[in-house]
């Protein structure tokens, strides 16, 4: 029911502006020289236009290290979530599990549990394992916290796949593992993409655990790095925004590419349930 009336067009423009303007302002500011950042009224365009904030983010604040850390942590957690989530999701979709409903609801609640409720024991646990200021110190909790939602999504996606093909494979003597790999997975790419995008985004943006567990410079992820930019008494907005713009690029690209997967994944997974 596409009916592009005038008010639809108008509203869509308003929505777009609402979303874009703040981001645009951040982009513009990232190209201003430090002395222009605090002027009243703020100049609407950078003049002179400068890359100095971008250069400084790398040379002075060592942003590349934070970026690398974020990539390592987010990618590893995402892969781990997909691996474990596929197994659990398949089991919940296809095998008789007692108390499945309670389990599913429990998982859903865990996936939105406030981090503050676990942060101090988690910190102690990581210290006990000697995992403070290590990658696994973040990858493991990130995996655990994002797994429930992915299990939920994947399980619901697997349910939407017709059973017949699987059963044929089983009758042919394929092991459950083979069945999952050769029958289920090829048909579940949208579901996998959705789970991957959600996990990646959640881990890419997470702050409290990263701040508590990996706050030393060599292991800081982007959110912690940016929050701790500057010295004791300075907030270098220009540099912060330059680094922010860089950190948006990969995730924006991913979101653009997997846009349909996200939306259809939501339709198929979370919603249809």
């Amino acid at each position: 029911m596409k009916q592009d009336t005038r008010w639809v067009r108008l509203s869509s423009i308003i929505v777009a502006l609402f979303i874009v303007l703040p981001l645009l302002w951040m982009l513009i500011t990232s190209f201003k020289s430090p002395s222009q950042v605090g002027i009243t009224p703020p100049p609407w365009l950078p003049h002179p236009f400068t890359w100095v904030n971008y250069r400084m983010s790398f040379t002075y604040f060592g942003f590349q290290r934070y970026f690398l850390n974020s990539v390592i942590v987010a990618v590893s957690s995402t892969l781990a979530v997909l691996l474990l989530g596929t197994g659990a999701g398949y089991a919940l979709a296809r095998t008789p599990v007692r108390g499945r409903m309670a389990l599913m609801v429990g998982l859903l609640v865990i996936s939105v549990f406030p981090e503050i409720a676990v942060i101090s024991p988690l910190y102690l646990l990581m210290r006990l394992l000697g995992w403070l200021d290590t990658y696994q110190g973040l990858i493991v909790p990130y995996t655990a916290f994002n797994l429930p939602f992915s299990i939920w999504i994947l399980r619901n996606y697997f349910l939407s796949i017709p059973r017949e093909m699987e059963e044929v494979a089983q009758i042919d003597g394929a092991s459950p593992f083979r069945t999952v790999v050769s029958v289920i997975l090829p048909q579940s790419t949208p579901g996998l993409f959705t789970a991957a995008v959600f996990t990646f985004t959640a881990t890419w943006t997470e702050f409290l655990m990263a701040l508590t567990i990996d706050s030393s410079t060599p292991f800081r992820t982007i959110p912690v790095g940016i929050a701790l930019f500057g010295a004791e008494f300075t907030v270098p907005y220009g540099n912060i925004f330059a680094a922010s713009v860089i950190s948006i690029v990969p995730i924006a690209l991913m979101v653009l590419i997997f846009r349909n997967a996200i939306v259809s994944g939501l339709t198929q997974g979370a919603v249809k349930g």
Partner: protein, 443 residues
């Protein structure tokens, strides 16, 4: 036997070349011949100990590394490994606390806020330096600093460098309007109003009024100027609820209502005040000593137009007014395996050589009294020249629950500054909260 890694690695001949273990380690014979013996002699020859120093970045880059090099030159037997901590004080505190409480031997020495001694001393997270160093050691510090680093009669931190609240002003504007540099708060208010009336500047006075630790510092200055106190000397009685306190907070609020300070100071931290001042929007600013070099940076609108003086006092009281003490101390980890070396390091860093370097090259305010008064140091910049004149006031950090006290102060006073509650109500509420905290019933 707990040998530091440095010795083992450097003692192993070939490895020494690869890892570049510096002077004092001649590449010895092939270690495969008589490993144990070689190891022993090498260790003797290359007898240096590596200590780990955890410190947040100091205002200017390279400060810490430069000081380490100078120290290592003076004490070839000790190597210092720098661990960079977070620029966020709370993060640093949490990290150090959990590390030391967990029994970690490193860092051996750490740089910590001047408001930590009670909290850290109380929990056994720092070595009581006064148990290991003679009384005479502490006389090197400017008056009041060692006392500020004490808890229950023991000194836990060696004052390393100091921050102090200062009044910055625009020389050019005052000259243009032929106004004197304010020595009193009343003068500052009338100067500001005159400058604003002549449209020479947008705001009179900018300072730090956001709900955070910095507001506690500003408040302490005004309380001191009014003769008000937060706690008694023993730190177990609340004295805050007084008409003097009420006057102090009412004056702060009046700066905003009279338009001398912008409404926005209630959200200001140091960078915001600095920004308004650098942009030429304010005639006066309260900020720490770092602001001096900042206002001298090319590109700001105020280069060459800035003067600095001690804080004003209320008319009819002793001048100058109080400056809140900030800054950093050096603490020693109780689990450190190298106490002697740690103390040598602390001794050097707070001694004449270290302190002079800190002032000379990096314009930090030295804590060493002799260096502070040294004419050559005083000549370095206007801030260092007025340091001996300052009247200092410390925050009530002599109790382990100081963070809670500070929260009660800045949260309630900030609410009064924004007009949510009256100054009197804010003082009453803060007092009640602190009382509850002292009794151990607070959150």
């Amino acid at each position: 036997m707990t040998k530091p890694i440095g010795i083992v690695v450097c003692g192993a001949g070939l490895l020494a070349i690869i890892s570049g273990c510096g002077p004092g380690v001649a590449p010895g014979p092939a270690p495969s011949k008589k490993p144990a013996a070689v190891h022993k002699t090498k260790a003797k020859k290359a007898a240096f100990v590596t200590i780990d120093w955890a410190a947040s970045p100091i205002t200017q880059t390279g400060t810490r590394q430069h000081m380490i090099s100078a120290f290592e030159k003076a004490h070839p037997g000790i190597r210092v490994k720098l661990t960079t901590m977070s620029t966020n004080t709370d993060t640093t505190r949490a990290e150090l606390t959990t590390e030391i409480e967990g029994g970690s031997k490193t860092p051996d020495v750490y740089m910590g806020d001047v408001i930590w001694p009670a909290q850290f001393g109380h929990s056994g997270l720092a070595v009581p330096l006064s148990d290991h160093l003679p009384k005479s050691f502490f006389s090197r510090f400017a008056p009041g600093l060692a006392a500020g680093a004490s808890y229950h009669g023991k000194v836990y931190g060696a004052p390393f460098f100091m921050d102090a609240g200062l009044l910055y002003y625009r020389k050019d504007l005052l000259t243009k309007a032929s106004l004197p540099v304010p020595k009193t708060w009343q003068q500052l208010v009338s100067d500001s109003k005159a400058l604003e009336a002549k449209h020479l500047v947008k705001y009179g006075y900018v300072w730090e009024g956001a709900a955070y630790e910095g507001l506690t510092c500003v408040l302490m200055e005004f309380l001191g100027d009014q003769g008000a106190k937060v706690l008694n000397a023993a730190g177990n009685k609340v004295l805050l609820n007084s008409s003097a306190s009420d006057k102090a907070v009412s004056f702060m609020r009046s700066l905003i209502t009279s338009g001398v300070s912008p409404q926005a100071v209630t959200t200001y931290q140091e960078p915001d005040a600095m920004n308004a001042f650098d942009a030429g929007d304010a005639a006066f600013m309260r900020n720490w000593d770092y602001a001096w070099s900042n206002s001298q940076t090319k590109g700001t609108k105020v280069v060459g137009k800035v003067g600095v003086e001690p804080m004003p006092a209320f008319a009819g009281t002793t001048e100058p007014g109080y400056s809140c003490i900030g800054g950093w101390d050096l603490y020693v980890n109780p689990h450190s395996a190298h106490l002697a070396q740690d103390l040598t390091f602390v001794e050097w860093m707070t001694g004449a050589a270290g302190q002079k370097l800190l002032a000379d090259k990096y314009s930090e305010i030295p804590t060493n009294a002799a260096v502070q008064k040294n004419p050559a140091v005083k000549k370095l910049n206007p801030v260092l020249s007025i340091v001996p004149k300052l009247r200092l006031i410390a925050r009530p950090s002599g109790t382990p629950i100081y963070p809670m006290i500070s929260q009660a102060l800045y949260q309630n006073v900030n609410a009064a500054l924004t007009g949510q509650v009256s100054p009197k109500a804010a003082i009453t509420r803060a007092s009640q909260q602190i009382l509850t905290d002292l009794k151990g019933h607070g959150l």
